[in-house]
């Protein structure tokens, strides 16, 4: 089963929930936690586990073979992302702009373009007992996170057994990277805070997940601040609120030190239990 922990607004506690949930479940069953927030991956801060595998990740981009080129401009014309230009008799491809569709390479009549690998980031796979932790880190200056997100998901599908529960910590927001991270999961848990910003962005997330046809449930973090509009909205929309994590300073302090929380704060563990029960129900 695949579960995504997502949110519209950043800073609501996605990573806090995902990390603690994975750690808690790992006490009694094998679990995989995958950090797909490749621009700013943070789950690893909570785990100091053994690195079992690391690999550089690439996307395929075209390389120009001058000797074979006519030139005919087909590659330039066929590229819908403006990733190929011609300067005099030089064809210049742009890796940053390339979406790896292969049109230029496959349509070049002279086979003057071949794919080569362009580095986009690195994937790390850690393990300790029941918990497998996989994260990918996008190289600074690389513009598109989506190829790295989809490759990380593929790696996980191959490296981790199908019957092991997979928890995905997704990026914030509702655009492309989040869609890529959630489009094939079985359940999306939306973490929000009960404030106007939180509610506004939660509504966007709900809309996005409905478009993808993903089942959703909500976890309210920092319960006690703000107002009760969020609860009202979820009730009106028939969306189940499965946990309400209280706004405790102790939680913030432990988080700030990169410490796992559930074994130190009872109220947090009680709410986490509710999430676990909900997941167990869904697994049946």
């Amino acid at each position: 089963m695949k579960i995504a922990i997502s949110s519209g607004k950043g800073g609501t506690g996605k990573t806090t929930v995902a990390s603690n949930l994975a750690s808690y479940l790992a006490d009694s069953m094998p679990v995989a936690l995958i950090d797909l927030d490749v621009e700013e991956p943070n789950s690893g801060i909570f785990f100091k586990h053994e690195l079992v595998h690391t690999e550089v990740k690439y996307k395929n981009v075209p390389d120009w073979l001058q000797d074979k080129c006519v030139p005919c401009d087909i590659c330039k014309d066929v590229c819908n992302f403006n990733a190929i230009i011609r300067l005099g008799d030089q064809i210049i491809p742009f890796p940053q702009l390339c979406h790896s569709c292969y049109a230029c390479v496959e349509l070049c009549p002279e086979k003057a373009l071949v794919m080569r690998q362009e580095r986009i980031g690195v994937l790390n796979h850690y393990n300790e007992n029941n918990l497998d932790f996989i994260e990918s880190i996008l190289d600074i200056g690389t513009e598109q996170p989506v190829p790295l997100i989809s490759q990380t998901i593929k790696y996980t599908d191959n490296a981790i057994n199908n019957d092991i529960l997979k928890i995905y910590d997704t990026p914030p927001g509702t655009s492309c990277p989040v869609i890529e991270a959630t489009k094939n999961v079985d359940l999306v848990l939306l973490v929000t805070e009960p404030t106007p910003f939180g509610l506004h962005d939660l509504k966007l997330s709900i809309e996005a997940m409905k478009e993808l046809g993903r089942p959703i449930a909500v976890i309210i973090n920092r319960y006690g601040i703000g107002n009760d509009e969020t609860e009202k909205h979820c009730k009106d929309e028939n969306i189940e609120i499965i946990a309400k994590i209280p706004n405790l300073r102790k939680i913030a302090e432990l988080y700030s030190n990169g410490t796992i929380i559930y074994n130190k704060v009872d109220q947090f563990r009680i709410e986490l239990d509710k999430v676990v029960n909900y997941i167990r129900e869904h697994l049946k």
Partner: protein, 112 residues
């Protein structure tokens, strides 16, 4: 020498555009012939991706020796322009094309 400017309009009184890739126009002044040509970058300016290299491709058709602009080209465009050997001067963020040209002649612009 041929001097190119990233601008918002046409003619010596047009305002400089500090951007490169999404500049509205490029004006190319041929110092030897004393002619001012206009290249319309409008189509490129509207592109979602890759405006920089496309603008460079457009500009290259005029074979300028010098480019005068405001911020300087972004990473992708810069890579392309370096290959052509063009000399880039930045700092002409606002004012007219004429004023930018005078600044260039008086060594008041920075080399990119």
């Amino acid at each position: 020498m041929k001097i190119a400017f990233s601008t918002k309009g046409e003619g010596w009184d047009a305002e400089m555009d500090p951007r490169f890739g999404r500049a509205a126009y490029f004006l190319i002044y041929d110092e030897d012939k004393d002619t001012l040509e206009t290249a319309d970058n409008g189509k490129v300016a509207d592109m979602a991706h890759g405006a920089g290299p496309q603008a460079a491709q457009l500009l290259f058709q005029y074979k300028p020796d010098v480019l005068i602009t405001g911020n300087g080209p972004g990473g992708n465009a810069d890579r392309v322009l370096r290959q052509t050997g063009i000399k880039i001067y930045i700092g002409a963020m606002s004012g007219t094309v004429k004023q930018a040209y005078d600044k260039y002649k008086n060594n008041e612009l920075k080399v990119f």
